[in-house]
Amino acid sequence: MKTDSNLEKVLNAGHLAVTSECGPPRGAIPAEVVKKCGYLKGVVDAVNITDNQTAMVRMSSFAASVLTKQQGLHPLLQMVTRDRNRLAMQADILGAYSLGIDTILCLSGDHTKFGDHPMAANVHDIDSIQLIQMVKQMRDEGKFQGGADLKGEPPKMYIGAAANPFADPFELRVMRLAKKINAGADFIQTQCIFNVDKFEKWMEGVRDKGLHEKTHILAGVTPMKSVGAARFMRNKVPGMDVPQDVVDRMAAVPKEQQPEEGVKICIETMERLKKVEGVAGFHIMAIEWEEKVEEIVKGAGLYPRPQV
Amino acid sequence: MEKFEPVIVAFCCHYCAYTAADMAGSQRLPYPANVKIVRVPCSGKVDGLHIIKAFEKGADGVYVAGCLEGDCHFKNGNTRAAKRVKYTAKYLEEIGIEPERLEMVYMSAGMGYRFAQIATEITEKIRELGPSPIKSATAGLKSQVAS
């Protein structure tokens, strides 16, 4: 065991892990974080706390993670390289670990163009792969990125990275995973999967290189609330692959029943993914629909969560 | 009140528009004396600078006349001219001159009647628009200095 992370314990014990997501509020409203935690307690092994997602300013991932920890859940600190330089990121890692946060997800972050501050600088002092390297160096060597020793016990962070089997160029996506693993990624969360065929193809390449044994891959899934949501994800979100027949399936059902259908599709996808060799668990992204996660976890036969 | 006689500068390409002007003349088709023709080898020779200078020197209206689309003697001189005219019209707006005072027109060498018609139409259009704001301003300044 590299860390004390609950997620690491669950994965190492050989269980299918379950993580979910919580987006902090666009204001200083701790009650909202507490409410979302309420839906997820006991239902997931760790909960991702997003970091200025889609480049919209929100309560910091750090603060929301602390609130989440106080609620008795296991926060997964998401950190994007878009908003901070390496000094700030290392400082946040030390601070987060000092407050009991032991799991981190390293990301580049959506471009500011998509958010509410398109006029801001995109920092990217380092990229996501260099961030993975940096956290690993802090944890395993007790050194800062600049080379100096850090004081005291090194922050034992369980390091995660994102993978998108649906972005282009497809042929690069396995090599990219290899790169992240070589940099030090202990676990991977993928972009949400609707095109299971394409995901299976990616996993073939992944297994071919033995990468599924060097890291733990959590398959991303999302329940769709409506056919409108399905179309939006298909057409407007870069890097997402929503096949037409999935959209059609949502459209074929009357509006009031669409949320139920969306949850159904999500659970069916999870059942199919369980059979794919190399899938170590699931990352359920139910943005602004956190109350559904419990139903999905139960529907996929993954409840109760193992106590490790 | 004296009737306003606009000064119109017409940049005409040698191969089509100027020849059409010639034809209008030989066919005794009348067109207004307001139009001062400047012959250029191709409408694509006309630069934004020529157009702006024309307005600076007192033109009330300017047009660039080239060959019909697809028939330019130099292949794409007229398309380049059209782009420059469009771009220059935006500059005119920045300066404070109505962009309608500038136009791009097309005709073939045999269209004497079209040359005359366009010359007449544009003259009347500019007459209605009135003197170029630059001209009025220059006159205003001169009278200021004089008094």
């Binding site: 690069l172 | 600078l49 307005f55």
Partner: protein
């Protein structure tokens, strides 16, 4: 070359309004190539400014001249005879040239007529695209001659990110995903394996992170 675009005319009118005689200076290098501040653009701007000011009831005498370059003091020195009686200077050169003028003519108000944009190259006539960020430590040898710092919206050194779609950057279809271009190039050169090498975090000191940069050649400097 360094690319630039002329500032909106109303901004320039505000600059020159208070003066009766100014010197409008063009530059024969980069800004000529990108049609922003060469001899012709000086003529166009002088004419436009004069007409616009006339409209508002004032007049201005605009002396026009174009230097070979404005970023070398030797060329700026040529202006000495022209500067007499001039109340202000407006330069159509990039920021480097404007500052050179201001340093030489310390008592003269100096104004920029263009917004300096980026270091770039011509894609085709009339189209210039950003190519170099002056990061101070060129990696083009490793990326098949294509720059991820200048051309990646997130300046990723180990790209692409998850937003690359059909060869386009997530910010829009008009922008190539440079990592797609780099990958294609590495393939064409038979160097796909090099993709697995992790480029470590960059030392930004060479790229301006250590403060404004200077090059001093001991063999050339007096």
């Amino acid at each position: 070359m360094i690319t630039a675009e002329r500032k909106p005319l109303e901004e320039l009118i505000e600059y020159v309004k208070p003066y009766k005689r100014i010197l409008l200076l063009g530059c024969n290098e980069c800004v000529t190539v990108c049609a922003a501040g060469g001899r012709k653009e000086v003529g166009l701007l002088a004419s436009g400014l004069q007409m616009a000011l006339l409209k508002s009831g004032s007049s201005i005498d605009i002396r026009q001249h174009t230097l070979e370059r404005q970023c070398d003091p030797e060329y700026v020195e040529e202006l000495l005879p022209m500067i007499d009686g001039v109340e202000a200077v407006m330069s159509m050169a990039c920021g480097c040239g404007v500052q050179q003028l201001a340093m030489r003519f310390k008592d003269m108000p100096v104004f920029p007529a263009v917004n300096t944009k980026f270091m770039g190259a011509s894609e085709r006539q009339g189209v210039w695209a950003e190519r170099c960020k002056g990061c101070g430590n060129c990696v083009l040898g490793e990326t098949g001659g294509i720059c991820p710092i200048a051309r990646c919206a997130k300046q990723l050194m180990n790209g692409p990110c998850g937003g690359s779609v059909s060869g386009h950057c997530e910010i829009g279809e008009d922008t190539d995903c440079v990592w797609q271009l780099i990958w294609d190039r590495l393939k064409a050169l038979g160097r796909e394996d090099s993709y697995l090498d992790i480029t470590p975090a960059k030392d930004w000191r060479a790229g301006g992170g250590g403060g404004p940069r200077k090059i001093i050649r001991e063999d050339l400097a007096e």
